[in-house]
């Protein structure tokens, strides 16, 4: 693996040597098989030996094999299977005792699994939600067989329509059943207490009472039933509970629980809610008008990435500060903190494979990764202070180290006029011929104009004559007279010598039916034979297309074809209403014979 990684990283360096000069390529493994998100990455000194490890809540390929992975350097130190997909991972100190080894917390489904020394230590489950009392009552009645199934169904549907508290899964499933299945279902489930369980959607940590880096921290959970919970680090009891108007998707925490803290939750309804200590409900609200894809706090500014391919900066009171447009969709975001230089910046992984680093609006650096980066994490790894860990959509792992000499300067990214300004305009060239013609026009413009006008008048005259002639002899396939608005078109099918001729006759008037029409075929009797050269047309209902079929036999043996004229006549009138000329195809049947 080492050989492969070095050659790969060489390729990457050559590609964008200048932009990457701030970074050392420590490791690249495209086949690391890590599929995860930024929220499932954490760095921690798990053994208290100063060697920082990477904790990964891995979804596994296709989200099928959830694993807890602990990496030391480029190698996997430990792998534990997980019962369900991990939503978030965090490392936190549970108590003050020495040695100070942080615990790993993995949020998955309704539980938080806590590991100490890489061993399972505790499982915290979210408390059951209170069921709807009416629903509870109904099932109790069912248990004692005091209610029949149809009534039960009706009552439950009534609750679903109106009640604030949603139904349990059991009731919802029951409502889907056919009549025949109800009995068995009720008998199987009636003795069970109805349950409503929620799941964890996001997790973060909050310092308990000290701001130090190695202080005891509480876990903060966001749940599917629109609540935020703060857990006690030792007893795992719920210290505080806050409700939100929507389901939290990303969480950002600052402050200390016992002093003052601020929780910022980006929610599924596209809003960001800011809560403070002592507030049970959101204090400020930011409406994004798009979905947030990441939430990072840089000093006092909240940076939000939205699905509209942009980063927005907000104050901690929700006032909009700035917006930066990205060249591609944002996949993930995280904080870059270089303590030695006091730098805090935002990293954003984009769908085009770039990782962009911004301080406020200013672009500091672009890293071009070989694949779209889906998770980012920056911090101390191994014994190196400034390490950037990235995983890609294809499951690759990239580790880069920030050079100790590297200084981020604003304006190294895109600045000045756009590149396109230097490009030449693509003006179409003109040929010598064009120039010659121009000169000719200049000399003889008047004559050209006159000739043209004369020809134009002649053309118009001829067109008008032809039109009048067509109208006079009813040659057109459309008749627009007030009494008989008709449309005709004909189709010839077959190879010969027998053809099928289908006339589609349509009455285009809106309401009046047409009666008393006749169709007559005119043809050369030496070449063709028709069973009926003349027949009556039935009553034509407005709007419908009537197919009138007739067979045509070609008599010629020499492969000659001729025209057949179709005339539509009104009874008692010799002038046709309309006519069609059908060019018959050459009979191929004879040619073959």
């Amino acid at each position: 693996m080492a050989a492969a990684s070095s050659s790969d990283s060489d390729g990457g360096r050559a590609e964008s040597s200048e932009a990457n000069s701030k970074w050392l390529d420590a490791h690249y493994d495209p086949m690391a098989n890590i599929h995860t998100f930024s929220s499932c990455l954490a760095l921690a000194d798990l053994h208290g030996d100063g060697e920082y490890k990477l904790v990964v809540g891995d979804l596994g390929p296709g989200g099928q094999q959830p694993l807890l992975k602990v990496l030391k350097g480029p190698t996997v130190l430990r792998e534990n299977p997980l019962p369900a997909l991990p939503a978030a991972a965090a490392c936190f100190l549970m108590e003050q005792h020495e040695p100070r080894t942080p615990a790993i917390a993995l949020a998955s489904g309704p539980c938080v699994y806590v590991y100490k020394n890489l061993r399972p230590y505790f499982k915290f489950s979210l408390p059951q939600l209170p069921p709807n009392p009416l629903e509870q009552d109904l099932w109790n009645q069912a248990k004692e067989d005091r209610i029949d199934h149809l009534t039960l169904k009706e009552m439950l549907e009534g609750i679903r329509e109106k009640a604030e508290v949603p139904l349990s899964v059991q009731s919802l499933r029951f409502l889907q059943l056919e009549l025949s299945e109800m009995e068995a279902f009720v008998n199987q489930h009636k003795s069970k207490a109805i349950k409503r369980q929620t799941v964890i959607t996001t997790m973060s940590t909050l310092k308990k009472n000290l701001a130090d880096e190695d202080a005891v921290s509480c876990l903060v959970l966001g749940t599917e039933n629109k609540e935020l919970l703060v857990l006690d680090p030792e007893a795992f009891t719920i210290l505080a509970k806050m409700s939100l108007p929507s389901v939290p998707a990303f969480l950002e925490v600052s402050g200390q629980f016992d002093v003052e803290f601020r929780l910022t939750a980006a929610c599924r309804n596209g809003n960001i809610y800011i809560l403070r200590r002592d507030s049970k409900h959101p204090k400020y609200c930011i409406e994004l008008s798009a979905q947030p894809v990441g939430l990072v706090r840089v000093h006092k500014i909240l940076v939000v990435g939205s699905t509209q391919e942009s980063l927005h900066g907000f104050t901690h009171k929700g006032k909009k500060l700035w917006t930066v447009q990205m060249p591609a969709a944002i996949l993930t975001m995280n904080l870059l903190e270089q303590r030695s230089r006091g730098l805090q910046a935002v990293m954003a992984g984009l769908a085009n494979g770039e990782v962009r680093i911004y301080r406020d609006k200013a672009l500091l650096n672009i890293i071009r990764a070989p694949d779209a980066v889906t998770s980012l994490c920056f911090g101390r790894y191994g014994r190196e202070d400034n390490t950037l860990i990235m995983t890609t959509r294809g499951g690759g792992l990239i580790i880069k180290i920030l050079k100790r000499t590297a200084v981020f300067v604003e304006g190294t990214g895109e600045m000045g006029p756009p590149q396109a300004q230097a490009m030449k305009l693509n003006v179409p060239r003109k040929t010598r011929l064009y120039v010659d013609q121009t000169l000719r026009e200049r000399e003889a413009g008047t004559a050209m104009h006159r000739t043209f006008q004369t020809d134009l008048y002649l053309l118009r005259l001829r067109a008008a004559r032809a039109y009048v002639q067509a109208l006079e002899s009813s040659l057109s396939p459309m008749s627009t007279t007030a009494r008989e608005p008709l449309k005709l078109h004909a189709v010839v099918q077959g190879l010969g010598p027998t053809f099928k001729l289908t006339l589609h006759l349509q009455n285009t008037s809106t309401a009046r039916p047409v009666l008393g029409l006749q169709v007559c075929f005119l043809y050369n009797e030496a070449l063709y034979a028709l069973p009926r050269a003349f027949f009556k047309v039935p009553l034509l209902v407005p709007g419908l297309s009537y197919p009138l079929e007739t067979f045509v036999e070609s008599l010629s043996t020499k492969g000659i074809s001729d025209m057949i004229k179709v005339l539509v006549l009104r009874e008692g009138q010799s002038i046709p209403l309309l006519s069609a000329h059908i060019n018959m195809p050459v009979s191929e049947g004879l040619a073959a014979a």
Partner: protein, 530 residues
Amino acid sequence: MRTRPGLPTSPPRTHGRTYKIQFPAESAESQKSRQKKAPEFPILEKQNWLIHLYYVQKDYEACKAVIKEQLQETQGLCEYAIYVQALIFRLEGNIQESLELFQTCAILSPQCADNLKQVARSLFLLGKHKAATEVYNEAARLNKKDWEICHNLGVCYIYLKQFNKAQDQLHSALQLNRHDLTYIMLGKIHLLEGNLDKAIEIYKKAVEFSPENTELLTTLGLLYLQLGIYQKAFEHLGNALTYDPTNYKAILAAGSMMQTHGDFDVALTKYRVAACAVPESPPLWNNIGMCFFGKKKYVAAISCLKRANYLAPFDWKILYNLGLVHLTMQQYASAFHFLSAAINFQPKMGELYMLLAVALTNLEDIENAKRAYMEAVRLDKCNPLVNLNYAVLMYNQGEKKGALAQYQEMEKKINFLKDNSSLEFDPEMIEMAQKLGAALQVGEALVWTKPVKDPKAKPRSSSTSKPVTCPQPLGSNQALGRAMSSAAAYRKLPAGTGGTQLTKPPSLPLEPEPTVVASPAEASEEIREK
């Protein structure tokens, strides 16, 4: 195989997995007791977070896979999975399918305003605005404080042409929460009603609220441009360009302003950026063409204009410019075709008939030229050049009376313009008018106070005076050509751009500046060079 605790289909595997971890809570005892009892139900919302995450990352394939799995597991009960599936359908353009799924969601949880909002949105996208407003109103009953409902209701009312209701809804949306989009929509209503001042008012507020929104800045700039407040227009367009130097609309508008001031080279460099971003834009190529025209590169100008015409064959402004350039090139037969095509698309503009008349005069079709002039005089209300050119033609035909009448008409228009605007008159026009005045013996009636003070006027009039030899046949072809091309410069001032929509960048620089006017002799040199 993924583990699914409590799923009826695969209980043994589930237990095997959970055993491995051996958490204190998951004791073997509790598992045994569970086996005997009825199977547990899966938690419906178990993977909602994952669905949402894939959705916002726009990884729709992965998202659909999780949704499918989740729906199988919950037998179609997971509302959020259906919801996101419907959103994805909508993004893929299957609006009808998305509507049906959202309706399913609304059945699963009828108290949720969000589902109704999405149903309404899909209806809206299907063009059923009436039905959409009904559903939105229902949603508004469930959630009274949602700006999105108000905003979308407002947009629906716009499409239903109920502007008052739309304004009410949009204003209440602004009260709930301010969003750029709402401002844009409100501005649009005012524009649809033709109320520019109110629209500017709204956009001003919007720019105050979000000063970096380039769309707002550009629109405001364009509105100022329409009203002729050039200073402010340029300011806002410039701001838009500092935030987004590749903003196509702003580039076009700012470029057109530079062109009117004769900064053709600066305008061209700006257009290069736009040409990279939107290489097939007819107004852009039109403007580039007129830049070259201003720089007296006529062949290039014709090339660019012809490309613009190819891209937008029904745009009369491009045809107008083509006619103008061909007149300058003395290609009168071609000019006639372009101008008559332009008249077919825009039969209500006096200047077009005047240009056509000039072309016809040069094609020695005096009769038709006169008829064109008559039409031009009938349609035009404020351009003195129409009358001047007509007067010159009549004078040359020996109809002194008619010429005098037109001359007086022209004087009226000039006096009106002098009173009402600070516009400078083209020195060539003045010169021609003075000559005609002398020839008609009306003399000094007109006082060209403003233009004469213009320092630029003198050198130019001296340089271009050579072809016309007064008092002899007044208004030779060349003089006419010049007077005519400067005519276009006037058009933008009082005529106003009635037809131009706001959304579309204006192809304003139709009008070449007076400086552009070149004598045909130079033009032919240009050709020889190439």
